[in-house]
Symmetry: C2
Subunit: 395 residues, 2 copies
C-alpha cells in the first residue's frame, strides 16, 4: 500500500545526525559525536531513595495517576526557586513543565509559528530547535554570529528586514559551539527586544554547568517581558527523565498548556514526583559541582590533546562550561568526508554542516567531551589528528 504523508514530512531535515549517532554507538568506537552526559556521574542511589520515598508515602497513587497538564505543583515551586537563583522572579503560573526541552521547542512552534513566519537563529544553531520548528514550516534566517555570540547590530538589521516571529538563541555554552554571548551583548539584545517588541526564546540547558570564568546573567533576568526561557533537568540530574521547563508570561504559558494537552496530556507523573523529592532531599548543588569538576577535567584533556596533536591551521573554541567544543579546519576540508574515514578508524564526531541554516560549515566539526574519559579523549583526538593531516596538504 502507498501512504500519502503530509507535505511537512517530506520537508523534514535529514536525520543524518541520528544515523551518525547510531553508527557511533557501536561499543568499540570512541564517540566524540553524541551529546550525552556522563552516566558514571548519575546520582543513582539518590534517585532510588527518592523513588522509594514517593512510592512508600501518601503520594504513591498521585505519582502514578493522570496529572495536571501544567505539571506537578511542588516541582513548579522548586523550579521557581531555581529561577530565583538565576535572577528571575516568577510564580508557578509562569512555569510549564514539559517532556524535556525538545517538547518546549515543539510547543513554541505550535503556539507561535504560522507557515512562512520567520525565526532568527544563530549560525550554527542547535539542530533540535530547527527540527522542532520546521514541522510548522517557518523560514529560518541566520544572523551573523562570532566568538562572542550573535552580533547585536546584525540582529537589529535582521529584525528590521524580516519582522521575525521569534528569535532563538542558546546564549550560554551553545550547542554546537560551546561559545557564550558576552555580557555587553546580552544587554544590547534585551534593549533590541524592547525596542522592536520581539519575542526571544532563550534556550538555556547548560548555564548551570559553568566550570570556569565569570557568571553571565540570563537574558530573561535582564528583560523579563519579551523572553521565554527554557531549561531542563537533563544535564544537572538525568536526561532519561525527559523533564524540562519553560518560563513565560501567563498568557503564553496558558496557550502552551492548551497545546500540550493535545500533544501528550501531561508529563510523566512519577518522574516529576521523583524530581521534587530529589531536589528536596539531596544536596543537588554538590552533585552539580561534581559534574562540573569532571567535565572541566575532560575539557582540559581535550584542549591539551588538540594543542599537542592538531596542526596549527586548525582552531577551536575555548568553552567555560557545557559539553561541546567547536573545531574549525581550513576552508576546503570537508568534515563529512573526514567522518567516513574517522569511523573506519573507530572515532566519531559530528560534521558541523548539519547545524547551519543555508550554506557553510563544511570545514567544521562538533566535539563532545562530557561522555568520554580523558584517556579516550586523548586517543580519539590522536586518531583524528592523523586523519586530518592529509586533508590539509590537499586543501
Amino acid at each position: 500500500m502507498d501512504y500519502q504523508f503530509a507535505e511537512r514530512v517530506n520537508k523534514l531535515r535529514s536525520s543524518a545526525i541520528r544515523e551518525i549517532l547510531q553508527v557511533t554507538e557501536m561499543p568499540d568506537v570512541i564517540s566524540l559525536a553524541g551529546g550525552l552526559p556522563a552516566e558514571e556521574l548519575f546520582p543513582i542511589a539518590e534517585i532510588q531513595a527518592a523513588v522509594n520515598q514517593v512510592l512508600e508515602q501518601g503520594e504513591a497513587a498521585a505519582s502514578l495517576q493522570y496529572g495536571p497538564t501544567e505539571g506537578y505543583l511542588p516541582l513548579r515551586r522548586q523550579i521557581a526557586g531555581i529561577m530565583q537563583e538565576r535572577g528571575v522572579s516568577c510564580s508557578s503560573e509562569e512555569i510549564l513543565i514539559t517532556s524535556g526541552s525538545q517538547q518546549s521547542l515543539d510547543l513554541l512552534g505550535r503556539v507561535f509559528l504560522n507557515h512562512g513566519d520567520t525565526v532568527l537563529v544563530e549560525n550554527p544553531t542547535y539542530l533540535g530547535a530547527l527540527q522542532a520548528f520546521e514541522v510548522f514550516e517557518p523560514r529560518f534566517k541566520a544572523v551573523p554570529t562570532d566568538d562572542e555570540g550573535m552580533v547585536p547590530e546584525a540582529l537589529e538589521r535582521a529584525i528590521i528586514e524580516y519582522s521575525p516571529k521569534l528569535v532563538y538563541l542558546v546564549p550560554t555554552f551553545q550547542n554546537p559551539t560551546g561559545r557564550s554571548m558576552n555580557r555587553e551583548r546580552r544587554w544590547a539584545v534585551a534593549e533590541i527586544l524592547r525596542r522592536y517588541q520581539v519575542v526571544l526564546v532563550e534556550d538555556d540547558p547548560y548555564s548551570a554547568l559553568r566550570f570556569e570564568g565569570e557568571e553571565l546573567p540570563c537574558i530573561k533576568s535582564i528583560e523579563n517581558d519579551r523572553v521565554i526561557y527554557l531549561s531542563t533537568f537533563s544535564k544537572t540530574v538525568v536526561p532519561g527523565f525527559r523533564v524540562g521547563w519553560m518560563v513565560g508570561d501567563p498568557r503564553v504559558i496558558g496557550s502552551m498548556a492548551k497545546c500540550k494537552q493535545g500533544a501528550d496530556l501531561h508529563t510523566n507523573s512519577l518522574v516529576q514526583h521523583i524530581l521534587a523529592r530529589y531536589l528536596q532531599e539531596t544536596d543537588s548543588p554538590a552533585h552539580v559541582a561534581r559534574i562540573k569538576a569532571e567535565y572541566k577535567r575532560r575539557k582540559d584533556a581535550m584542549l591539551t590533546a588538540l594543542a599537542r596533536e592538531f596542526p596549527p591551521e586548525v582552531t577551536w573554541s575555548l568553552p567555560e562550561g557545557g559539553m561541546f567544543l567547536w573545531v574549525q579546519l581550513p576552508e576546503g576540508v570537508d568534515t563529512g568526508l573526514l567522518l567516513a574515514e574517522a569511523i573506519a578508524e573507530k572515532v566519531a564526531f559530528v560534521p558541523g554542516k548539519a547545524f547551519f541554516v543555508g550554506e557553510g560549515g563544511e570545514n567544521t566539526m562538533r566535539l563532545n567531551y562530557s561522555n568520554s574519559s580523558p584517556e579516550l579523549i586523548n586517543e580519539g583526538i590522536r586518531r583524528l589528528a592523523r586523519l586530518i593531516k592529509p586533508h590539509l596538504d590537499v586543501a
Copy 2:
C-alpha cells in the same frame, strides 16, 4: 506586551472539559466526569519492586540516559507479544513507543494531515483525538454511528464523498459511549479499507478491560496493511507513566519516529525500563483480571442505580468493558445547563456535546464508573436523577 500566536491556537477546541474536570476535582464532589482509572488498584508494590531491580542492576545507567526514539527494545519485544495475543503478528520494527496514546494521535496528525485534509470520525468521538488532530487543521466529517458502532454503508458513502486521509475509530468500549462495533461490521470495515485503499487509525485503549460478553477481534487483526493500531499501558498498568504504543507498516513507523524526534526526542527511559521489568516479573494478566472484576462491580452498581433512579424516558448504553457509559435524555434537555445544577449539588458528569463534530448531543452525557466506589456511584446517580426530573417536565 501583545503576543501574536499562530492562527491554529485561536482555532483550538475550547478547553471546556478541562475546566469541568478542574471543578470536579474538588474533594467533596462525586465526580462521574473524569476518565481516571481506579488508583486503589494501582500495582504500587510491584512497580516499586521493578524500579528497585532496574536501579540496582546493570541497566541503571541506561534507564536514566538518553535512549532511542523508537523506544526501549525489550519493551517493544514485549509489546509484540501483547499484540500476538490480540491476533496481530508484528516485529519490533513495526512498533513505536510513544509518550502515551495522546502523543500517538499527535504524531499521526503530523505525519498524515495537510491543512484541509479530511478525517472521518464516529459521532460522538474521542475528544482527545479531535484536540490532537486539529492542530494540523483538517476537516472532520462525522459518519453515522449507532449502538453497534460506525455504520459501514455510511462509512463507504463518506469515503466516496470526501476522499479522507484517515478514518479514526475507537471500535471497542468507545470513549465516550462505552459501545463496541459488532463483529460483522469489523469485517465490513476491513473490506471497505481494502477496496478504497484508506488508512484506518484503530485506537484501542480499552479492549483489555472486557468484563463480560464475547471477545471481539481488533480490526488490525483482520486487515493488517491498512490499519495503524494504538494502545497504551494507561488502563492496564498506570496512566502516570505516559507510555503508549503504535503498530504500523515500518515506513509509517519510520516517519513517526522522525517526527517524534522533533517532538520530544524519546519517551522517558526509566518508566520504559520499569514497564519491561514489571511485565517480565509480575503476573500482569492477574492484575488486569482484578481491575476488570472491580470495574464490572462499579458498572453494575451504576446500571442498577440508573434503572432504579432515572425516569423511563432516559436511556443508556450497556458497556461490556471499559470505563464509560453514555446517557441519552429526551430531546430538549440541555445537559450543559444540568451540569451547573449538578455541580451545586456536588455531583459531576461531562455533557455529551463536547464529543460531537458539528451539531448534536445537547441531550447526552458521559458517565465514568471506574473511579468511584459503588456507594458513591449510587449516591451520585440519586442526586442526578433528582435534578433531571424537573427538566423532563419542561422538555
